[in-house]
Every structure is written in C-alpha cells, then in structure tokens.
Symmetry: C2
Subunit: 528 residues, 2 copies
C-alpha cells in the first residue's frame, strides 16, 4: 500500500511542487484559487481513498495504525508539503470530531471528511493571540436554537478557503459572553463554509499571506461576521479538546520535518553524483570528479542522511507507543518528534542548498524551496520553545522525572545488548552511553533548578533528548540488523549510518548539557 | 565619519531594502533596471564619496585603514545587502587594478572606479566551472594590436549589468589559445562595457537569475561575443592575481555576515520588546508580558547578540593584522572571517525568524528576507568547504601548524591575563582554555592524519577555529573593559555578553573536536 502511495505521489503530486511554489495560491474577492494541477490531483487523491487511511472503518476509513499513517504522511509531504497540508488539517478536524463531536455531528461530517469530499481547518490564531490563547477575542453568542453566532477575525488559517472541495469545515476557538477569563473560557465550534441547508455561511476569506515558503498552500485571514456555529462538546472546554488533538497535529508536523529532510537529501544526493567539479584532495584522479567524492560533500550528505533516518525512526517509534496506548511514553515523545525533527529539517535543508553551491541559491533548482518550506515547521502547531516548555514542565518535572528515567533505563538496556555485538555495535554503545549520561545529568539538574534557570534550558533539553532518543533508534536498528538474515548491503549501510550518527551528531548532547547546566546563570544575567 | 555613514544608510539605503527585495531587478532585452530608488540612492552614495573610503588618496580615495573599511562595510551591508553588493564588487576591481594593472590602465580606470562613477565586476564562474576554475573555457585571442577578443559565457555575475552607473568594468578570467591546461593557463582581462572610444563593447546580459535572496541585486548571465579585452599583468598568471584579490573579497563577504546578523538581531530585539504574549513561567506577572521576558526568547536574543558581536570583533581583529601587514596572521584569519561569520549568519537570521513566530514567516515582516539573503554568504566567493580546505591545507598543514600554534600561545596569554581579573573574567578564562585545548588537539591530529581523514574534518576545524578566535576577542573585550574608566554600563553589558558566549557558544569546540578526531573513520565508511 505504501509503495502504491509512493507511485501515486511521485507521478501525480511531486511534479506540482516546484510550479505550485512559483504560481502560489491567489485570492480574488474572497475566492481562493490553488495552483494549476492541484484540483485534479486532489480529486485523484480523494478517489483513491488516501484521506481515510488512518481513520475508523465505521466512517469509511481504512483504520490502519499510526505507524502506517506516519509513513504515509511522510510520503505525501515529501512529494509536496503545500499540497499535503490540506489533508493534514482535515486529519486534525476528523480527530477532533471523533473524540468530542456529538453523535449527529459525526454522522453528518465524518463520512464526508474521511472521504476527503470536505476538508477541515483549525482556527486558533488571532492577530493579538498566537502562542497565547488566553488573549483570544472571537465571540460566540448562543441563538437559543442550539446554534451560536460567531464573530471575529482569525489569521494564519491553512487552507481556510480554497477550490479543492465543495465544503470546508472550520473548527473555531471562541468565547461565549459569560465565559471565564483566560484559557478556561474558550469553547470549540464547528463552523461549516456551507451550512447543512445548502446556504453559504457568513465566513469570508479577507486575504492570503505572502509567505517565505509553502506558497502553494493558502494561509488565510478569515472574517467571521455572525457565522452560524455548532458547539463541540461543552462550553469552556475548548482548550482541553485542543490539547487532545495537539498530539496528533504536532506529531504530523514532526513527520513533515522528516519528509522535507528526505526530499532535500534525495535531491542533494542526485546532484552530488552528477556534478563534476574539482580533483580529489588525495590526488587519486587527475581530472574533475563528481563532487560526492570530496570529503566535505560526503560529510554533508552523510549528515543529511543520518539525521533523516534517525528522525524517521524517532517518529515511527513514537507512533508505535501511541498504537499500543502508552500515554506517558507518547506524551514524552511527541514534543521530541515535533521539536527535534523540525529543527533538524531546517539544518538538513540548509545543507541541501550548500551541496548545490551557487545553483542552490537559484530557485529553479528546487533546493531553496525545501529550505524555505522547512522554516515554518519549528513555528506552527507550537514553536520549538512551546514544545520544550511542554516537554520540561508537563512531561518531565510534573512526574518528577519518572518517564525520563524510564527511557534512560531502556537506553541502558540497548547499550548492554550492543555490548555483545560487533565492533561497530560496541562503538555505538559507548557513544550512546555518554549521551544518556548527559541526559540523566540534565534531568537531575532541571528537577532541582529554579523555574527561570530550568526554562532557560528548555530548548537545549529538548534538543538533547530528541538527539538521544533518535540516536537510540539508530542503535536499535543496528541490533535488528545484526540479527537479520535479509539484505546484507542494506543492513551494512544502516550500521554505517548509525555509526556516523553516533560519532558526528550524538556528541551534540554534551554541548546541550553544558548550555543547560553551566549556561543558566550567564543566560539570566545576559545583556539583550 | 562612521556615524555620518550610519545616518546616510539609515535614511537613504535601508528603506529600500524590503521594497527592493519585492520588486527585484528586471532584465529586458539586455537592459537591467534596478528597483525603484536604487539609482537615486547610488547617486548620493557617489556624491558623498563613500566608494573611495578605503582606497588610495592618489586615485581620489580617502586612504583609510581596513579596520575602518570593515566597519563601514558592515554599516552599508546591514542597511541593504543587495545595494551594497555593487560597491563591494567595485572594491574588488579596484584592488585588482591597483595591484596588477599597468600604469595606463590605472590612470584610465581607477579614478572613475574610486569615485563610483564606474562600477566593477568579477567574472569567474561558467556553467561547468564553479569552484573548479581549471574547467573554464572562455577564450581570449590576441588581436596583434595589444587587445584580445574575448568569447564565452559567464554566469552568476553580480551587477554584471545595471542602470546605476555609466560604465561597468568587467574583470574576466579566460584562456589564450596556447595556454597550459588547468589553472596554470588562466589569464585576467579587463573588459569594459563601454570602450575608451565611447563605443559599446560586445558583451551583453542574456538574463538574470531568479534567486532565493539578495533579489534586488541583478545576478547576470553575460555573453562575451568577441568583446575587446585588455590583458592585466602577464598571460597565465590570472589565478595568482585572483588569489591576491580573494583575501579582500572573502573578508568583505565575512563582513556581510556580521552585517546581516546585526540587522536580524536589531529587528528581533525590537519585536521581542513590543510583542505581548504569554505569562512569565515564574508567575511573576499575572497578564501577558513582552516576549523578551520569556527565558527562551532571551536565550535566542542573547545567542544572536553574542554571535554578532564576536564575529564583528573577529573581523576587526583580522583587519588590524592586515593593516599591520602581518601576512601569516591575515592569511589564517580570512577563512575564519569568511567561513565562520557566514555560517553563523545563517543561524542568527534563522533565530531572528523564530523569535517572530508566525509573523517571521510572512514576508512583510522582513525577518524572512534576512534569512534568505544570508543564505548566499556561505556559498559565494568560495563555499565554506573551500574556505576550510584553504585554512587546513595552505594555512595550517603547509607551515606545519606554526601559525596555529602562534595563535594558541596568544590565547594562552589572554587566559593568564583574565586569571587576574574579576570572577567573570576567570570564568571566561577557564572556558577559553578548554576551547584552546580542543583547537590544539585538533591541529595535532590534523597534522598527523591521512589526507582524506584530515579533509573530512576541514569544515569542523574551521568552525572550531572560528569560534575560538571569535570567543577570544570577546574575552579580550572583557579585559579591555576592566581596564577602562568610561561607560560602565556598556562595559558591564559587554562582559555579560562575553560570558554568555563563553558558556553557550564556545563549548561547541568540543563537538567539533569530536567530529574531527573521533569522526573521521565513520565518515570515510559512511553510506551516502
């Protein structure tokens, strides 16, 4: 099934990536037109049933586990991140309705959304309320007939208006007139573009943004002018619902990081294999060679490949815990998938530009688009700092380090198993052990530190933990490979990549440990 | 004088940065039009005599030292990198003619170039010859009258055609028919757009590139169709001339890195001071505060500020050695200024986007432009790998580590002096000593390593050395401050920034050391 999706994406979706970026979506008097080819491709996507892949069979989906959903999400996003954002947001709306919608709401909306005939959006941000939802002002007034009148302006609404589907189901955070102040007074509403009676709802697209990347996807300013909305769940519980959905959305964005890293790596590899430039430094060939033969190009490609494979393994690992229903592990891992994989995607796509040299700076080459597209990933669905505060506060300090300690113990078991393996396995075990000790030292420090000291080290802690858990998965892949009787070349490459990761990327945990533990005082005193 | 330049750039040049990016340069049937306002601003730039600032008095310049030239270059580039590229290339042409032009050539061209009435270009790259000049094919045939006919296509020619000045002086690398193969058969020619007799030379702009950044500056494909050229110096010595000029050009690009970092930092600081979002993690305020009060925003801003100040100090330090005529120190430091400051500029401008959150991804905000503009810096005038190979091969291995050892000894003297200072000074001394030892260990390893092992570590070595020497300048600024009776607040901020650098950025030398020494084998074996 994944191979079939790969074929479809390679043939139908990926070719729209570069022209879609150049053309962009257009907004004209409230109507949004996606770039050429998007509509036909979306129709095929719907016909083939891809939207329903991870969703329940009872609403027309295929009910596949999250591990498979993660792999599918990577393929679609690697083909075209701008295109993939539309199904990604629909996934979020499905998730919300499935958990919190009424029986009737599910019956009306879920089959259409799961089929992809209708698409979904998330409406959180307002001009004065980004990361801080306590500041939001959009109002919802009960009409006495069970519906609400929604009034306000929402910004940064991905696919908030478009021409791909016949209806758009907006999930909107708003306040009722008598709601408590702050985040405890936020409710969640379903506001369809087209109402069940077929009439057009009072929500309009005012404009779309001129963005650094994902330019084919329309990012809308939506005006709600007394639009009809339907309450999801109970009043004032909106934030709680959002938190439940956030794990899925944040995980999906982390997978986007893996996807764009993989695409950048594939493109850089192809260029490095074909571009002839420079003699080898060791003098082994008299004329110009493919640049992949130069040690630093090899270093950059290995860095891209190892990072991508490690972040992919981290994502699938996290999805596995979610499939098994282990809440503590899932909750700990999701900010790593979101935070670490997306920060790495920025670095990997930057290396992709660098490998292309001057050609990388020319938009026609495509490497620059990946670099631009990747830059949104550490920002939307919660910035890296928001992920890090979540990891530190809710997932580490709140349970007194229990889950962190559990993970460290599991890593120590892998080290022990590697110790009985090949010389490469033992080498990796030593580096993994050093990184685990950096993690344990950081956790011990953070549990004892003052609030400001601890949160000043939150992002370094996320980067340390993400690197460690991703590197751990690379180490586990070596163990699996040494017990595997299949494709030896594939497994040898895997081991070499894991060793590169252990030697070149994993040692960054020492730097992050120093920033957390020795860096706190200098941060609090710093001149800014 | 620098304050006057700052005023001029703030009022006349900086306001053209964002609109210039949006409008871009246009090419229409060989004519290139720069964005609105560029021509009037360039006229004022010329009238005020800024082009001549670092150039000899005998040709109409002001003859100021390179330390002052570096500061001036930073100001102009911080205002508008696309605009500043035109004078930057003219500087390069002046440098070349001053060193290698005939007496008559100097008399005809230098006064016009130094005044800024004419501008200069460097024509190295061809489609098949980027970093590898051995592959270039442009031909130069002697005409028997002392001139040459130049035929070929050059790409990536910055300001190769434009409407800012009445003439453009192209310096072109080409081969004579009987030249030796490879880089020993390259000659340098002066090819004016308008010949001394007033006729138009046979060089035309075929097109300009659609680029990731510096979009206001035209990057041209130039066709030479039997254009009249004048030999500079002797035949087949072109590469030697280029190397002499490269120090100046590479240094100037390093200064661009400082400049764009400074602009990104100023913009992020202003945003962080005004954007209200989120309560403080320590609960010290009940409502939303300016985001600068959040520990991670503070960390990012401190990182931006400390990096910018350290890279600035590194550049001025290198310029000082050049002013004093110490060739060995200058040659060692230039690849650090170019390589380290530009890689840091990519990181700093990325943090600038991150601090803006979602707004950073919207082009109107301006943060994204700095991020796009900065990305060319580690590529042009020699990629970071080219700088690193130069640092390793010509500047470290060739003299058996003599200059590297000299620098390490100077750093140890600074450590000793700091040891007698305040507790902050002693703290910095300890971190600086650890970083110096990482450098010494890396140099010892690289001197003994095989060619492929050593060059696989070239970029980590450049990043280690750049970080160390930049951090050393921060430490020296603390020493200077403790002996200084002037502005105490300024000096206290300097010391706090130096301490932040020592605690958060300098420890990266340990990671680079591990990559160089423990990472070589895993790189040579890596699957790519």
């Amino acid at each position: 099934m994944l191979e079939e999706l790969g074929r479809f994406c390679a043939e139908e979706i990926a070719p729209l990536n570069l022209p879609g970026d150049r053309e962009g979506s257009r907004c004209d008097a409230g109507r949004v037109t996606t770039p050429g080819g998007f509509r036909a491709a979306y129709d095929k996507f719907v016909q083939m049933g891809w939207q329903g892949l991870p969703h329940p069979v009872e609403y027309g989906g295929q009910g596949l586990p999250r591990t498979v959903g993660a792999a599918a999400g990577e393929i679609l996003n690697a083909a075209n991140m701008s295109f993939a954002l539309c199904p990604l947001l629909t996934d979020g709306a499905i998730e919300a309705l499935r958990h919190f919608g009424s029986h009737q709401m599910k019956a009306v909306y879920l089959p259409k959304l799961v089929a992809g005939h209708w698409t979904g959006t998330m409406n959180l941000t307002e001009p004065q309320a980004g990361s801080d939802l306590a500041l939001l002002r959009t109002r919802a007034e009960a009409q006495g007939d069970g519906t609400y009148r929604i009034t306000g302006t929402k910004i940064f609404i991905t696919y908030g208006e478009h021409d791909l589907a016949e209806n758009i189901i907006h999930l909107v955070l708003a306040r009722t007139p008598d709601a408590p102040r702050g985040v405890k007074g936020i409710s969640l509403f379903l506001v369809p573009k087209v109402l069940p009676d077929g009439s057009r709802n009072r929500v309009t697209c005012q404009s779309i943004e001129h963005k650094l990347g994902v330019r084919a996807s329309p990012t809308c300013v939506l005006n709600y002018e007394g639009a009809t909305g339907f309450l999801i769940g109970s009043e004032n519980a909106g934030l709680e619902y959002m938190f439940t959905m956030m794990n899925a959305a944040r995980f999906a964005v982390g997978v986007q990081g893996v996807a764009i890293s993989d695409r950048a790596t594939q493109q850089a590899l192809a260029y490095a294999q074909s571009r002839l430039q420079g003699r080898p430094v060791d003098g082994s060939t008299p004329g110009a060679v493919a640049i992949i033969q130069h040690p630093d190009v090899r270093r950059m490609l290995s860095h891209m490949r190892a990072t991508t494979e490690a972040c992919r393994a981290l994502a699938i690992f996290a999805a596995g815990w979610q499939d098994r229903g282990d809440a503590a592990m899932t909750e700990f891992l999701v900010p790593l998938v979101k935070g670490f994989s997306t920060e790495m995607a920025v670095q990997v796509t930057s290396l992709g530009v660098q490998i292309h040299g001057g050609m990388g700076f020319i938009e026609e080459t495509g490497a620059a688009q990946h670099y631009r597209d990747a830059r949104i990933l550490p920002i939307y669905e919660g910035t890296t700092a928001i992920q890090a505060n979540d990891l530190l506060g809710r997932k580490t300090l709140r349970d007194g380090g229990t889950t962190a300690t559990r993970i460290a113990a599991m890593i120590a078991e892998t080290e022990a198993a590697l110790g009985g393996g090949s010389s490469v396995a033992r080498d990796i075990a030593a580096r993994l052990g050093a990184a685990r000790q950096d993690f344990e030292a950081a956790v011990a420090y953070l549990l004892a530190a003052s609030t400001n000291e601890a949160y000043g080290g939150a992002v370094p802690y996320l980067m340390l933990a993400g690197n460690l858990v991703a590197g751990w998965q690379m180490a586990r892949s070596v163990l699996a490979g040494e017990a595997f009787a299949g494709d030896r070349d594939f497994m040898a490459a895997k081991a070499a990549t894991a060793r590169f990761y252990a030697r070149h990327i994993l040692p960054d945990t020492g730097l992050q440990r120093a920033r957390i533990i020795q860096g706190a005082a200098s941060l609090l005193d710093a001149a800014v």
